[in-house]
Symmetry: C2
Subunit: 108 residues, 2 copies
């Protein structure tokens, strides 16, 4: 089943921002509320919310609001899509050396 391009676009774009990667790093340690997530970051809560919207739209993060607290969590989808893209590039790359090896063998 081929992966959709727009997803990859959104995911890598989301991971391209250092603040958003910091958020993902923090979330990988466990679920946390928006305000607690914002504490160590030197930006306003509003900015954090905007980053979370980008992360959620890309499938890297999932959030759920209970009462007045929104709890944030990692969603495995985004990271696995990114990981797959990289793995694909590397495997195609590696296969080249295999073919190169074959050629060398043949010429022996």
């Amino acid at each position: 089943m081929p992966r959709k391009k727009p997803d990859i676009d959104r995911i890598f774009h989301a991971l391209g921002d250092p603040t958003r990667r910091t958020i993902v790093e923090k979330l990988s340690e466990g679920p946390i509320s928006v305000s607690r997530l914002a504490e160590p970051l030197k930006i306003t809560l509003a900015a954090v919310v905007q980053h979370l919207q980008v992360l959620e739209a890309s499938g890297l993060v999932k959030t759920e609001k209970v009462g007045r607290v929104r709890t944030c969590n990692i969603e495995s989808y985004g990271l696995s899509v990114a990981q797959q893209w990289i793995a694909d590039r590397r495997s195609i790359w590696d296969r080249r050396f295999d073919r190169l090896g074959d050629l060398l063998d043949e010429s022996r």
Copy 2:
């Protein structure tokens, strides 16, 4: 050996742009010159060169000029750093479930 943060910044920033990912995809199929790389892309050669500078500075691509032709190639470093970052996040994430399992076992 701890990885340097600036590298991760540059690498994910580089991968955040769709044109640069297209370039990496193309390069994973094998070495190619700048102008042949630019052909299918709907941007000027100068723009491609700028993308290549970003990619090379991040350790995703290596280039070498022979005569008047610059040949581009994938450098494994960049992709492996990115892959490692993602793998780290996922492993920390997975460990959480292990601990959760332990807690459930204890409460039995």
